[in-house]
Subunit: 207 residues, 2 copies
């Protein structure tokens, strides 16, 4: 029996995935959590062989949770299950020691087989996505540039961003200008879109 921990914030999807895996005779779901910061405690209690982690979760994102989980329960392999095949996500997942990286776009039949293969010690990554991740290059943004650009997504004006981050407006403009040029955009809105798209806005992903 392969013991599986399931971490997914959307209740309907979590329950449905549990039902899907419940059909497999050699898979046993030993824990279900809805928040990233519940992953490690649940894993310590349930001792799963494989943890299936969504990335977008409240409390703690799945990638950071994966890093903590690898440290706390090294025997537990990690499979990331996400909507977005962003190169930066895959790159970070590999750095963090994940064994698998699955897209929710993939056919449902791949889920069980991916869990079995990772439980057996294999790496499971979509080849096309791996190529994309390598060809993209790594995150060119400095930590501060990333932070300022990320803040610009929810804040309307440079003054707002400066206030939020306790910086001068001039400094914010400089960081934004740097980010815009590194990313190849023409203004901060386009820069934020591009960076978001490549998975460069998630925290802790330096160049």
């Amino acid at each position: 029996m392969i013991r599986v921990l399931l971490a997914e914030d959307q209740g309907m999807v979590r329950g449905a995935l549990a039902a899907l895996l419940g059909l497999e005779r050699d898979i046993d779901i030993v824990a279900e959590v809805a928040r990233g910061d519940d992953v490690v405690p649940a894993a310590l209690a349930a001792r799963p062989d494989v943890a299936l982690l969504d990335i977008e979760m409240p409390g703690l994102d799945g990638l950071t949770a994966a890093a903590q989980l690898r440290a706390a329960v090294p025997a537990c392999r990690v499979v990331i299950l996400t909507t977005f095949g962003r190169p930066g996500y895959l790159r970070r997942a590999m750095e963090v020691g994940a064994s698998g990286f699955l897209l929710k776009d993939s056919p449902a039949s791949e889920l069980a087989s991916a869990i079995r293969r990772t439980a057996a010690g294999a790496r499971v990554v979509d080849p096309a996505l791996a190529v994309a991740a390598l060809s993209e290059g790594s995150n060119p943004l400095s930590e501060r540039e990333r932070e300022v650009l990320a803040a610009s997504v929810e804040l309307a004006t440079i003054a707002d961003i400066a206030a939020r981050l306790s910086l001068s407006e001039g400094t914010v403009r400089n960081h934004l200008s740097g980010a815009i040029q590194k990313v190849g955009a023409r203004n901060r809105a386009e820069a934020a879109r591009i960076a978001e798209d490549k998975g460069w806005l998630a925290p802790g992903i330096d160049g």
Copy 2:
């Protein structure tokens, strides 16, 4: 037996929902589609009692598909299943004749019961969400303002938007200015965020 059509673009989620509903003895999935424009043809062939439709789908969005389905197969009730509880979405779903509106955030146990209740002729809508939809008021944007603001999400400069929509730059600025004020924002980025959030950017949602 309740005959159900399942429309969801993400393969993993679609398969998982099918497994979840497969556990119910009185529910039979008679069709599965991954695109909005496959909904009506599949319904004509399979004659479901209930159609479970995601909103975000390629080809045709779930709300438009719902409208076409109500016209083509009036006997088939529609349940919308979506990630986002945007007031504009719910409002449009009701206008289009949907019987149910479910969030993927809800517990998995609600899915089967919602299908049973709609099959029996009831309306199934989260009460809190219904209140939010009513208190929001309807979409204040004119069709042109909506179109311009939606275009500003993916286009960087006003010149780009003007070129895309074959308008003068001045006209684009005027429409954006109108949208910004109606929505209560300080620039087009914030306006787009707010409008998106309320479900006002989807096509065919006039005030």
